[in-house]
Symmetry: C2
Subunit: 292 residues, 2 copies
């Protein structure tokens, strides 16, 4: 176990805090508001077009921190390895995690490894700490009637990619797995007064919008006729009877912002990595019950 | 999933931060040093004399924070549930986690739940944040020749308990699973200048002492003739050819302190919960290689 940790995890994640290999990582923070989140990743297959379980584990937690307006700083990584997992596979995953961490400008400072019976799989938990450097209180509870609803890109790619691999369907659909640090920090630095923001993961846009409507005691209007998916994803969905609005993504967000700032916010998203297809999709409205 | 989270986790863990149910928890901290740690728990059976996987998951992470001298504050809990897990079982685990969290004076502020194929098991990751309120730099690297080595109690109980249950052996051995908050904070508040401290988990005292010796570039001398285990655990070990010094514990620590403070430290431990059997077991010495 000692050798595994040194030869795989410490080798790839190496940084001053982690390398002390103590019972917990210690680092200084200024007087501030912290964001703290956790997520476990159990994706199968472990590797897929556009990403892998390691990239997902870093991006998912980084994005959860960003959704409150926090700048992601430190991650932990807890590995549950099944018997029979190849060390080479684990090394590829660790390398991929480090690449994603470098892009998101976070350090993996704490780790843990357990081994269970099984058949060569791996589960990863990442927890993350970010620092709120904005005075904004971004929360699902803070959407206001009149606000614009913006989606950062087309939907369904991750879900359609994983499903295609599991069903043995050949196509060129790639997961959208990505860290949204640049996009979110560009909006905050650009002075956008974001009211609510969520990454569009499990349950898809429909679920996330409903949760915002419920938390904010409002309605959300989406006009008909909008396109939410890439052509190939749309075709895939039509064949299988799926709806991109209920499918999971790993690199997309929905932002609720004051109407007068919506055009500027979309412009900033479009100029940011992973935001090329950003669009305004609707608005928040007065409603006596949460309805989308 | 929404109902499961509300009816089980939010019900038992309820607190102001968690209840917002946002993508990440947000709370204020003063300018300080933070401790951050993660641990995954895969114990089988889920329930055993003296504890269960939920109590272990809280105590393990709380203790890892304490070992750097940090006061534990916030925990996250990531659940991986196998198909077929009874909701009643999960409720018992959540209740047990909340009981341990209350004793350790920490709040569970962030959570995540995933479901995998399987046969009714559960894996839990907890990550934790603590605040260093002591100026001490407690680290495995800081043991000094002449320092006393103190163990907080008898060893092997958790390991012997789990093994007994798995082998169907009847005895009255209980896991020592416990949060060591009171003991550690009593030592810090009592002015003990702890140099190094570790909880004695996987690998047992032998492994932990070797890691301290290696990190501090020193040796550790333990005289012969000491007793390290309760009578029943000692008997169990002799029958199976096990050694309490290499067995895992879930509520024991080893502290390395200046020799002149050792008696006082033992007195404080003995007066603290879970420290009744504390004893000085040896000393740090000059050595050209890490040896115990």
């Amino acid at each position: 176990m000692n050798r595994l940790i040194k030869d795989v995890f410490q080798k790839h994640f190496s940084n001053e805090i982690l390398n002390l290999m103590e019972d917990s990582a210690v680092f200084g923070v200024p007087s501030c508001k912290l964001a703290f989140t956790t997520d476990s990743f159990v994706v199968n297959p472990l590797f897929f077009p556009g990403g892998d379980i390691g990239k997902m584990a870093v991006c998912g937690t980084v994005n959860d921190l960003l959704m409150r307006g926090a700048t992601p700083k430190y991650l932990s990584a807890g590995f549950i390895l099944e018997d029979g997992l190849e060390i080479d596979t684990l090394e590829r995953i660790a390398q991929s995690m480090q690449n994603a961490a470098a892009e998101a400008n976070v350090s993996i400072v704490a780790g843990d490894t357990k081994v269970i019976e099984g058949s060569g799989g791996v589960y990863i938990n990442t927890s993350g700490i970010g620092i709120l450097e904005t005075p904004l209180e971004i929360s699902s509870h803070n959407a206001l009637p009149g606000d614009a609803v913006i989606v950062s890109g087309n939907l369904g790619n991750h879900h359609a990619c994983i499903l295609s691999r599991r069903m043995g369907i050949e196509n060129s659909i790639k997961s959208d797995c990505a860290p949204l640090r640049e996009m979110v920090l560009n909006m905050l630095n650009g002075g956008i007064n974001i009211h609510a923001m969520r990454d569009i993961t499990r349950g898809g846009l429909a679920t996330v919008l409903y949760e915002i409507a419920e938390a904010s005691a409002a309605g959300i209007e989406i006009p008909g006729g909008l396109s939410f998916a890439d052509t190939e994803v749309q075709g895939f969905c039509e064949i299988l009877g799926l709806d991109p609005l209920t499918m999971g993504n790993e690199g997309k967000l929905v932002a609720v912002v004051p109407a007068e700032e919506a055009e500027k916010a979309v412009k900033i998203m479009k100029a940011s990595k992973y935001g090329g297809d950003a669009q305004i999709i609707g608005k928040v409205c007065v409603s006596h019950r949460p309805v989308v």
